[in-house]
């Protein structure tokens, strides 16, 4: 794919651009098909789910009844799971973004002892998969009696080593030292220079960090699995797995799991698409600085 792109740039090869387009269309189909399936499956009964063609729609009456059932099962517990997921992801991602912005900016713009050592440690954090640290986190929070509480999900979500890394790189590249100097000459303190000037220039990076962290927390399974023991505090991932485990004994749960997955996926798409606007806005506002 990379070669094809270069071909296009160098020689304007038509074949190359057709190839790229074809590959991109195939990739798009590959990623969109599961989403289409889960939406069409929401319009079916458990029997139709397996007995009919996967991408064909069932009937709209069933769609309404599945959704109705989804939100009424267990006294509307699904809505609660959605709110929990939004809380964990929203608060976690917002705080993580704020911390990453500050840390990344400081790493990029200030000279201090141990800077590179500290940054290396944070880079090490990028390499550790979340799965590996879930159990140690559990033991730590268990020692202070926080497991099973909202804090057990919020605290781990508030740090993003990758975010710090990205913010440092971005701040180095997009926030010129001269701008900070100018702000200081105009009487702005460090905090003011950071909050009013640097963060604006870093917006695309901040949106990226927020999105990454939001999706990572939303889709996290192992952490809530070990941390939480009350259904009322479950996020959507854990709740749907709970229901999925009951399909063997009670197959009607298939409809709930499928509808629940569809709602969760569509919500995530909405969050992504709406935040993408800021992304583009950030890029253009960054472009005016030169």
């Amino acid at each position: 794919m990379v070669n094809a792109t270069q071909l296009k740039v160098r020689g304007g090869s038509r074949a190359g651009s057709v190839l790229v387009t074809a590959v991109l269309i195939a990739a798009a189909a590959y990623f969109v098909l599961p989403l289409v399936w889960v939406v069409t499956a929401t319009t079916k009964t458990t029997g139709q789910l397996f007995g009919t063609f996967g991408l064909a729609f069932g009937d709209s009456g069933q769609f309404v009844s599945n959704l109705g059932q989804l939100f009424s099962q267990g006294d509307g517990i699904y809505s609660r799971w959605l709110l929990n997921s939004l809380l964990y992801s929203g608060v976690g991602a917002a705080v993580a973004t704020a911390l990453a912005a500050g840390a990344g900016f400081a790493f990029a713009k200030y000279q201090f002892r141990g800077r590179e050592a500290a940054f290396s440690v944070i880079l090490g954090g990028v390499l550790l998969p979340a799965t590996v640290i879930a159990l140690p986190l559990y033991f730590m929070l268990s020692a202070v009696g926080l497991t099973g509480t909202y804090w057990a999900m919020l605290l781990p979500g508030m740090v993003s080593p990758f975010g710090v890394y990205l913010c440092r790189i971005y701040a180095s590249a997009s926030v010129p030292d001269e701008v900070i100097e100018a702000a200081r000459l105009d009487g702005a303190g460090d905090i003011r220079a950071f909050t009013t000037i640097a963060t604006r220039m870093m917006t695309p990076a901040l949106v990226t960090v927020f999105l990454f962290q939001f999706v990572a927390i939303w889709n996290n399974y192992l952490l809530p699995l070990v941390m939480l023991n009350d259904v009322d505090t479950y996020p959507v991932t854990l709740g749907l797995t709970l229901w999925n485990g009951q399909t063997q004994r009670a197959p009607e749960f298939f409809e709930l799991v499928v509808a629940g997955s569809a709602v969760s996926a569509v919500l995530l798409v909405i969050v992504m698409v709406s935040l993408q606007r800021f992304w583009r806005a950030g890029l253009t506002s960054g472009a005016t600085k030169g």
């Binding site: 159990l135 140690p136 202070v144 926080l146 023991n229 797995t241 009951q246 749960f253």
Partner: protein
């Protein structure tokens, strides 16, 4: 035996807690004000119960109503294999487990290996004779009781009565007749098969092996005797190899979309499964209502009928570290032996009751909705007989998750690349013995 061997993970965990945990902890407590103070014990003992049995809350509520001294709160968790077991074991390691938990018979030895179970013998030994023998045996290691059996899935054969009749096929009572029936079905309808060979389904294959005779594992003092590629299992393997070679069974994963479609359309005519599988068929093939029946498994020796369970069953155990093991054991015992409670559990979909006197359970005697789907047949008679024909000698080893992996691995390679099935079972044995020895277990072959 393996009860005292603490896992390395557990040790690491404790070290972690003592070191990093406390340091970070002090800061967190100061800023957040954790609320984990222990109130003085007075009034009823409160227990927590982790389970994934659907709709079990009313059953526990019933217990609470009838007990003043013990009150139980349900914590719904994801099914064991989906992470429920991992969550339980971490909580045991961290020292704050639930009091009572749902654990499969197939996982009991693994939990013991992790030192995660309380020995409840002294609390329950005088009352456990109400349970069906093989189910109690699955919870007993070296004469100590580690769990109260709740429910299981004795196997039987669900089949399409209408199509069997249409194709002129008699319900097979021996494996010989089963093969014959498979041929007749293939001859009558080239699209139809008697069943699938489900290489994905370790509990199904192990059920067939259990039914064939010699068990795979035996705990002998400090040692595990392993004999997977035994004479009986190999005979069963040769049988299915012939069925595959002659295209008498369909190679397809069960519980897959294709399989559900085949079951609905009458292209797969039967399924050997646990007693609770009626719900799967009723739920997924509602249009075939009235066209199904249930029969006992075909036999190798009709004079000495044997049966098997699908993946064992499910127990309620007391987790190591519970503050109230006596009360927890009392709850588990009552929940699973009181007749009304057992009947409620059965209705909730827990599975085949573990008590031996199933005639006293109203939910088994009368389930019109189920019987109607099966053309009026009282299918529970079939599974009651099956339950009684399960031998006591099948023992679930530790490390069952690895075993399931080896079984599906080798079965898949048998159907995909043509490794003969008997060879596949030899391979499973070699891999499992290696795995057990690597875990520090004494193994005899």
């Amino acid at each position: 035996m393996f009860v005292n061997s603490r896992s390395a993970q557990g040790r690491a965990a404790r070290g972690m807690r003592a070191g990093v945990g406390i340091a970070v902890g002090a800061a967190l407590v100061a800023s957040l004000g954790a609320c984990s103070s222990e109130p003085a014990e007075s009034g009823p003992v409160t227990l927590t119960f982790q389970t994934w049995v659907p709709n079990i809350e009313p059953v526990v509520e019933n217990f609470n109503e009838q007990h003043d001294d013990i009150q139980v709160e349900v914590e719904a968790i994801t099914a064991g294999p989906d992470g429920g077991y991992a969550a339980m074991l971490s909580a045991v390691d961290a020292g704050n487990p639930a009091d009572v938990a749902q654990v499969g018979y197939d996982q009991m030895a693994s939990f013991l290996l992790r030192n995660a179970l309380e020995d409840i013998t002294e609390y329950v030994q005088d009352d456990v004779d109400v349970f069906s023998e093989w189910q109690l045996a699955a919870n007993t290691f070296n004469d100590r009781i580690y769990g109260i059996p709740q429910a299981s899935g004795p196997m039987g054969m669900f089949y399409r009565t209408d199509l069997f009749e249409q194709y002129g096929v008699a319900v097979p009572t021996t494996w010989e007749e089963y093969e014959q029936a498979a041929r007749q079905i293939r001859a009558a309808n080239p699209e139809a098969y008697i069943a699938v060979f489900a290489a994905n389904q370790a509990p199904w294959i192990m059920g067939l092996a259990e039914q064939a005779g010699t068990p795979w594992f035996q705990a002998e003092g400090d040692e595990w005797a392993v004999d997977i590629a035994n004479e009986d299992t190999l005979r069963m393997a040769e049988f299915w190899q012939r069925m595959i070679d002659e295209d008498l069974v369909k190679i397809e994963n069960d519980l897959s979309s294709e399989w559900y479609a085949d079951i609905q359309a009458g292209r797969v005519l039967s399924w050997m499964s646990g007693s609770w599988a009626d719900a799967i068929i009723r739920g997924n093939a509602p249009d075939t209502a009235g066209l199904w029946g249930a029969a006992e498994l075909p036999q190798w020796d009709a004079a000495e009928p044997r049966s098997a369970s699908w993946g064992g069953g499910s127990s309620n155990v007391v987790l190591r570290g519970s503050d109230h093991p006596r009360e927890a054991a009392e709850f588990a015992l009552w929940l699973n032996s009181n007749v009304d409670s057992v009947s409620m559990l059965t209705e909730a979909g827990a599975g085949w009751p573990a008590i031996s006197d199933v005639d006293s359970v109203p939910a088994i005697q009368d389930s019109p909705e189920v019987f109607e789907f099966f053309g009026g047949q009282d299918i529970w008679d079939v599974f009651a007989a099956s339950n009684e024909q399960i031998a006591l000698d099948w023992t679930w080893p530790p490390l069952t998750d690895s075993l399931y992996g080896f079984v599906t691995d080798e079965m898949r390679s048998a159907v995909e690349s043509g490794t003969p099935l008997p060879q596949a079972f030899e391979n499973i044995e070699t891999r499992m013995v290696d795995e057990m020895e690597a875990a520090g277990l004494a193994v005899a072959r």
